[in-house]
């Protein structure tokens, strides 16, 4: 493994860029599954920042937190996709603009 100095600034910049891309996807896309993918991307950006801080502060707790976050993301993906399948069965679409049952 390569050992050397990676400045935390690089890690935070990459994490912030990925998070902003995820926000852009979540706001601009209209396909529910694409929005869900963007949320996953944002979660990974947060994980990257946590791991960067864990390495900079020489603290292992960060890795434990990221481990738990990934496990919870797996549970969330399973439930979310089940919701989309049920939704698609009812409305025949997963375009979030056409799913407006609760709109006034």
């Amino acid at each position: 493994m390569i050992v050397g100095g990676i400045p935390l600034g690089d890690v935070l910049l990459a994490s912030g860029a990925l998070f902003v891309i995820g926000i852009a996807g979540a706001l601009l896309r209209r396909n529910a599954i694409s929005i869900f993918l963007s949320v996953e991307l944002m979660m990974n950006a947060a994980n990257l920042a946590v791991l960067g801080y864990a390495a900079a502060l020489h603290n292992l707790e960060g890795q434990v937190v990221v481990f738990f976050v990934i496990a919870i993301a797996a549970a969330e993906a399973a439930v979310g996709l089940a919701i989309f399948v049920a939704l698609f069965r009812h409305t025949e679409t997963i375009d979030v603009n056409r799913i407006n049952l609760l709109k006034w």
Partner: protein
């Protein structure tokens, strides 16, 4: 510039580029495939941040299991490509763009304001997988067990949600 920093920047660049491809692509299947590449690149950055266990979990659980589940559902539902002309109100995209720019500026401002710690090197430290395991199975044992219950609940919930209702 050290070799580790060069490798980190290259991997992070690949991750960012393929994340952009994911957002821009109208075909959801190609979006998922782009995100797989992005997550693999992120796993490389995790290794460089001396988190080999998390990198392995990232490849196995995220790129391997979660995104394959996404692909499976996409192909099950036969989701069409997004139309170029959206179904929503035209002002939606404009407001979303404004929100994105404001958020990016706010994030940059936070990083600049708390930049003191940012000069600290994040790479020159070796973490042992055994130490992570010791932490998970001693101090965080309760959270770990709670997580297993959560996964079981998610399994049952997903099964109940996606099941076809009986015709009685």
């Amino acid at each position: 510039m050290t070799a580790a920093r060069l490798a980190f920047d290259a991997a992070a660049g690949v991750a960012i580029i393929f994340a952009c491809v994911m957002v821009v692509h109208r075909n959801p299947v190609k979006s998922v495939l782009a995100l797989v590449v992005s997550f693999f690149a992120l796993a490389v950055t995790y290794v460089l941040l001396s988190a080999p266990l998390i990198a392995a979990v990232q490849v196995i659980v995220y790129a391997g299991a979660i995104l394959v589940l996404f692909l499976f559902v996409l192909m099950l539902l036969n989701v069409p490509e997004e139309a170029r002309r959206g179904s929503g109100h035209p002002i939606q995209n404009f407001l979303a763009s404004v929100a994105i720019v404001v958020f990016a500026a706010a994030l940059l401002a936070v990083f600049r304001a708390y930049g003191g710690i940012a000069s600290q090197p994040a790479g020159d430290w070796k973490a042992d997988v055994a130490d992570v395991a010791r932490l998970v199975f001693s101090e965080h044992l309760l959270s770990f067990e709670a997580l297993s219950v959560l996964l079981l609940a998610a399994l049952v919930g997903a099964f109940t949600l996606a099941r076809r209702e009986s015709r009685s």
